[in-house]
Amino acid sequence: MAMKTRALAISVPALLSLAACATMNVPPPPRQGLIPAGDGGAAGYQHGIDGSRFVVGQNTRRLVQYGYLLMLAEYGDTSPRGRKRHCILRASVKLTGDEGTVAISRGNGSTFGVPHARASTLRMPPFGASPQEHDAFVRDYFVKLGLPADQVDEVRCMTLLEANGRSDETAQAIPRVTAYYSIVKRVVEGIAAPDSFAWARANSEGRIVQEGVYWPVLPRGVLDEARRFKDILSDDQRRRAFQSRIPGDISKATLAIRHASATEGHFEVFASLDVMTRSSPAAPRSDARQRATDSSVGGMTVIRHFDINGTERFLPQEKLNLKDRYPERKDAER
């Protein structure tokens, strides 16, 4: 019995590992470039491996796994047995030229270039002499590949920092800048679409170290709705009437085109007045600490969405609840 259990413990993970890597009937990647919208809509952009400067490695191959079409470096021997070997070995052996994976969601086309944890490309300093140069490089990179230039709003730069040291040091190590990420923001007819993104990290060789793109087509209907919404908000009387229908102060609210996140397979889009609310609980015990006195912080924020009728809307990712799949139980004696 013990032998059987042990054999099972050994063989099951191995079989699962092989099954997960199986390559069969792998579809071709979607065509990279502009996605036409049809009459009156806003074109989208499909990112892919063609023309990408993301470093995958040599002899790329494709497989479908966990809802993504993956493109990754092949390990030498391309026979079925070689592929199996690759899948087993890549957990523990550094493969020459094996730098990362491009993953395209089969549900929505969002594309991510993810480097391996110790890819050589990660060790290079950032591109350019300033964050602004990095931003311009990333913007041009995507536009040259087909991202609609007229939909590019600002490019926002993020800074990657690292620090290490002894935990008991009185003077902590200074975090050092190691990379930049530039995020291209989307706007259509002056209205932001904040759920769309095209971002990348470039190294000093001009290679893309990491990237993510989700820039779906926006249909004509939602643009028409956004225009009407804009008209309402620019008219004092109609604006006041709209304000009376929703909670919260709309003077600081933002008109936006909101669509499903890159995490979702089901696409929904609507014109939204996004109202930011703060949720700041009081400490529950009488002896608990007082609230923060730092004037710059004020509690967790939640963005609420209201459509042109004043009805509160929720994006697909905001409606997810797995309670039926995972019934909750908890014993009081725990």
Partner: protein, 345 residues
């Protein structure tokens, strides 16, 4: 080396499979614990925590996934004792043996941090008057000019413990989980050893605190060190001039990164969720943050570089907290190289 590996694997293929399978099967944690709170009984209710936690579960458990759910608790079934050390507490909940990732999404408690009224400053030497509930050392938090977090001006801030806030039906500590002062200790196992003095009955490898004020500048080491008992990493959010946004897709984006490349770095996966969330997931200036501790600088660095396969490996459990390695991705550009972007000297 590569040629040797190829040769060996070719000649001794069956043996290689056997050895690697034993290695992979013998010390792997693949469980997920997710605790999500929206319901604060009217005292600061949230709307996206459960969807956020469930998005993480969904992303990590597609068909054929190597991960599985150990616990999914929401709202009133999230108890403060789930997170605090004890054989009947965290060891059966947030820090249960066999867990790879423990994910909390909900409120972090706002605690004293700055002076009242705000003490505007130009140097950390001016920060000597902590408010009640906070303690020295004070620093002049940098903000509001080129290279620094946008949305405020520099002010004095001080150390305070970090606290999660839950609203459980069986809370024993007022719903507060202080993870800075020693009552929380995560990841202790037979692999980590009992160096933290809390036994070896835990076992999670990564703790995610998707909450307000996970850590604050510049106290990230002191605020997290006591919670370390064997975990490989702690991932959270560090607001600087704003606060965490309660969004529904941070968890899904994080988990999605595993599906996109299991050989990718877990720390980077957490940090870069910021790039794909509308508005970055932080209202104002702030950073996604990951920290790892261990007995040597090299080991701490090794954790921060771990991929998803290594995260599962209990053989990598941290055996001390004498050294740390940390990463941030902050939502503003900075070029400062000779001083901190978080504080004025």
């Amino acid at each position: 080396m590569l040629r040797w590996a190829r040769h060996l694997s070719s000649r001794y293929w069956d043996m290689t499979v056997f050895v690697l399978s034993v290695a992979l099967a013998g010390c792997q944690s693949t469980g997920l614990v997710v605790e999500s709170v929206n319901n604060y009984s009217g005292n600061g209710d949230l709307t996206n925590s459960i969807a956020n936690g469930d998005g993480f579960i969904r992303a990590m458990t597609p068909p054929d996934s190597e991960w599985h759910v150990i616990h999914r608790f929401t709202d009133r079934l999230v108890w403060d004792t789930d997170f605090l050390d004890g054989p009947q507490r965290d060891a059966r909940n947030f820090d249960q043996s066999g867990t790879a990732i423990s994910y909390y999404t909900g409120h972090g408690l706002i605690t004293p941090y700055g002076e009242n009224p705000a003490h505007r400053c130009t140097s950390s030497s001016q920060c000597t008057s902590p408010p009640a509930g906070a303690s020295p050392p004070g620093v002049c938090k940098a903000a509001g000019s080129t290279n620094y977090a946008p949305g405020d001006t520099p002010q004095c801030v001080y150390y305070s413990d970090r606290i999660l806030l839950v609203n459980g039906s069986n809370d024993q500590f007022g719903g507060q989980v202080n993870y800075s002062a020693g009552a929380a200790a995560w990841g202790e196992s037979s692999n980590s050893g009992a160096w933290r003095g809390v036994g070896t009955d835990g076992g999670t490898n990564l703790v995610v605190l998707d909450a307000s004020f996970g850590v604050l500048p510049t106290y990230w080491v002191r605020q997290t060190q006591q919670a370390m008992a064997g975990i490989h990493m702690l991932a959270t959010i560090m607001p600087v001039t704003g606060d965490t946004a309660n969004v529904a897709d941070r968890g899904g984006l994080f988990g999605g990164s595993w599906a996109q490349n299991p050989d990718g770095a877990v720390s980077t996966a957490w940090l870069t969720t910021m790039n794909s969330i509308a508005g970055s997931g932080i209202n104002g200036g702030g950073c996604n943050f990951v920290i790892a501790f261990d007995t040597t600088a090299a080991k701490a660095q090794g954790h921060i570089d771990e991929d998803w396969n290594q995260l599962r490996n209990d053989g990598f459990d941290a055996q001390g907290n004498g050294f740390y390695s940390a990463r941030w991705l902050c939502n503003w550009p900075s070029t400062i190289t000779n001083k901190s972007i978080f504080e004025l000297p």
